[in-house]
């Protein structure tokens, strides 16, 4: 099958800026002997012609085919590429549509596998109906591989639907507080005295200008991130189709994606300060090497916002982790944070002092040390939000005050287990336990990290998780083996990796 012919105009439009840029560049390059409008126009038409020809050739030469167990793609105008992707290896099928694409009725289809961070195949573009058909078809093929009986549910159960109220709460609570806090501190400290003197050297009232700027900046950023979140998650719906979760969302850029239940590596519950205060949280589902809808470093939520109980309930319907009685790190960890933050305050004060020495600004630089009053509170808050829990089937860890992240790792998804101790931790007999999983990693990663637990506890937990993991693998193998045996007795094909 081929791409939709309507993708030709869109692709040209998409490359339009490049054509314009080439023309402008050529115009500048030849401007030495006077701008010649006619030759410029000619050049533009020539480039446009080449672009149109190329895009038509690209679209015509792009073929895809659905065989019994692979998805084949043949593409390339000059150098040809053939790619076969086994259905069972396809993890996610995502469909994206922006406003222009919606007007044209075309959509982009992305096929993701576990290998690497890059998308395995991208169809740019097919018709909207064809995109849905492919999504349906691929999940069908996968299903028939996994369970021969194949329960065919066409509509799927709705697990979660974002209503207007929740969308509003999402907008309000989706500010990035770490960034905002930083801007606030920076502006009110450096900004105020300088700005005050610039405007009026006499009026002391202008000393408040810095904090005022910061407050305005804060509100603007808050609104911007809120609006962005609302646009992004408008009309969010999470449904379950057999062995797959499917979600759709977006106001301008519409997005549909799938999450295969059998490929889920970790679950993460995220609650930032505001959401936590309102009793809300979000759920992130990570699959191997890829988390759904991930564009760049952005991690997308499987449930963007819901009441905390609801989030936990949804998480439990995916991974049946029971109650989570978190254990906290020992109290001496808190002392460690006091020490750490004291150093930070010291450094900030020193920097302010240095600025004073060099520029004569900031006569009250030593007031920076007053920040120390916040240190015990900050240390306590950091400590209070840490926690870990290990049982027979799950490792759960929690950390973060601004955004609290609770990571649930099923033990049989463990890749490696390690415990580490920095120089500073060694002084207080503390250690960090890291349970690595096959998620995409990234800055926040899907790894479960138990920070600053007692070093002996970290070591025993490492051993315990490892032993339990080996048991879990054996249980899984036994079950697969028995299943295979039963299958062969019935004269059926062996199942592939449930």
């Amino acid at each position: 099958m081929n791409l939709d012919p309507r993708s030709v105009p869109y692709r040209i439009f998409d490359n339009g800026f490049r054509i314009v840029a080439a023309t402008v560049f050529w115009g500048f390059a030849s401007s030495g002997d006077g701008m010649d409008v006619r030759s410029l126009l000619l050049f533009f038409v020539a480039v446009l012609g080449i672009a149109i020809g190329w895009q038509i050739a690209y679209v015509r030469r792009y073929e895809y085919r659905v065989t019994a167990d692979t998805f084949d793609i043949r593409s390339g105008v000059i150098s040809r590429r053939e790619r076969e992707i086994p259905f069972e290896r396809i993890q996610n099928v995502d469909i994206a549509q922006n406003v222009v694409q919606r007007a044209l009725g075309i959509a982009e289809v992305r096929l993701e596998t576990a290998g690497g961070n890059a998308t395995e195949a991208t169809l740019r573009y097919v018709s909207r109906r064809e995109a849905s058909r492919l999504q349906e078809l691929i999940s069908d093929r996968k299903r028939s591989d996994a369970s021969p009986e194949g329960s065919r549910e066409e509509t799927g159960d709705v697990l979660f639907e974002l209503d207007q109220r929740e969308l509003g709460i999402l907008g309000v609570t989706s500010a990035n507080f770490r960034l905002l806090g930083l801007i606030l501190v920076g502006l009110s400290f450096v900004g105020s005295p300088v700005a005050a003197r610039e405007i009026s050297p006499r009026v002391g009232l202008f000393l408040l200008l810095g904090p005022a700027f910061a407050a305005v900046g804060l509100v603007i950023l808050w609104i911007a991130s809120g609006v962005q979140a609302v646009f992004r998650y408008y009309g969010f719906r999470l449904t379950r189709h057999g062995e797959e979760l499917r979600y759709e969302r977006g106001l301008l850029q519409q997005y549909t994606g799938t999450i295969p239940l059998s490929k889920i590596q970790t679950l993460m519950i995220r609650e930032n300060v505001l959401a936590r205060a309102a009793g809300y949280g979000s759920l992130v589902i990570e699959t191997a090497g890829y988390s759904p809808g991930q564009g760049g470093s952005d991690v997308e939520s499987a449930v963007p916002i819901a009441e905390r109980d609801r989030v936990l309930e949804l998480a439990r319907s995916i991974e049946n982790v029971g109650d989570i009685p978190f254990a906290r790190p020992p109290r001496r960890a808190r002392v460690r944070y006091v020490a750490r933050y004291t150093i930070v305050v010291g450094v900030i004060t020193a920097i302010l002092g240095a600025i004073h020495l060099w520029t004569d600004e900031l006569p009250y630089w030593y007031l920076g040390s007053g920040l120390w009053l916040l240190v015990p509170i900050a240390a306590h808050l950091k400590w209070a939000h840490l926690g870990y829990y290990v049982d027979e089937d799950y490792v759960v860890t929690r950390s973060g005050f601004w955004t609290r992240r609770t990571t649930v790792v099923p033990i049989y998804r463990v890749q490696t287990v390690l415990d580490s101790q920095t120089v500073f931790q060694r002084r207080r007999d503390l250690g960090t336990l890291v349970v690595d999983t096959a998620t995409s990693g990234g800055f926040w990663g899907g790894d479960a990290v138990a920070l600053d637990v007692d070093v002996e506890t970290a070591r025993t937990l490492r051993e315990r998780i490892h032993d339990r993991f080996q048991e879990a693998v054996r249980e899984r193998q036994d079950r697969l083996f028995r299943e295979r045996e039963r299958e062969s007795e019935h004269g059926r094909e062996s199942p592939v990796n449930g």
């Binding site: 576990a114 996994a146 369970s147 062995e243 239940l261 059998s262 490929k263 889920i264 191997a288 090497g289 995916i318 991974e319 049946n320 049989y412 998804r413 463990v414 890749q415 490696t416 287990v417 390690l418 415990d419 580490s420 101790q421 920095t422 120089v423 060694r426 890291v434 690595d436 999983t437 096959a438 998620t439 995409s440 990693g441 990234g442 990663g445 899907g446 790894d447 070591r459 490492r462 490892h466 993991f469 080996q470 693998v473 054996r474 899984r476 193998q477 036994d478 079950r479 697969l480 083996f481 028995r482 299943e483 045996e485 039963r486 199942p495 990796n497 449930g498």
Partner: protein, 189 residues
């Protein structure tokens, strides 16, 4: 979760025979043939690391010297800084060597390393995707080799054992390969 029909309804006899078969399949090779005791690296790896830290120290020292000159300060401080860094590098190398321990256990590779941050890692064989040996130019002149073990984890490439003789490296590669085949996990990705 997705793991289809649970077979608790099966008759006891059937389950018993399947269990025996599973057991037989699992114990084809005795893993203890492949395990090792706790081993440290070849002492020559210290030369390799020392080369690296010295090069880094010299580069940092040069940058510092130019920076000092730009600020009209005595550039000789840069020389002192370089010397200190080189010395610190040597101390680090010796400590790093003393701390490094690896062991091929019967169900996982165990690694212990790190001076400033001490790390102990367990890599289950079931999770191993492939095993490489690699030799950089300095390693080649010193007759050393590095074993790199890949898992699907996000910290996959972290698992490598440097400072092995080529024979040791290929021997370890064989052992790990056998144990990984033996473990034959479904990939669970």
């Amino acid at each position: 979760m997705s793991d289809g029909g649970d077979d608790r309804t099966e008759s006891g006899r059937e389950r018993g025979s399947a269990g025996v078969a599973v057991e037989r399949e699992r114990r084809r090779v005795d893993p203890s043939e492949y395990t090792t005791d706790r081993r440290s690296l070849s002492p020559r790896v210290q030369i390799n690391w020392a080369v690296r830290t010295t090069v880094t120290a010299v580069v940092v020292g040069l940058i510092a010297t130019f920076a000092l000159r730009a600020f009209d300060l005595d550039p000789r401080i840069g020389g002192v800084l370089t010397a200190v860094l080189v010395l610190l590098g040597f101390v680090w190398v010796v400590l790093h060597y003393r701390i490094w321990v690896y062991q091929i256990q019967d169900d996982a590779i165990y690694l212990e390393r790190g001076v400033l941050t001490h790390v102990r890692t367990l890599v289950p064989y079931v999770r191993i995707q492939h095993v490489d040996t690699s030799r950089g130019p300095v390693e080649r002149t010193l007759g050393l080799s590095t074993l790199v073990v890949y898992t699907a984890g996000s910290r996959g490439a972290d698992v490598s054992i440097p400072g092995l003789t080529p024979e040791e490296a290929s021997d370890l590669q064989q052992r790990v390969k056998q144990l990984a085949i033996e473990a034959e996990g479904d990939d669970a990705l």
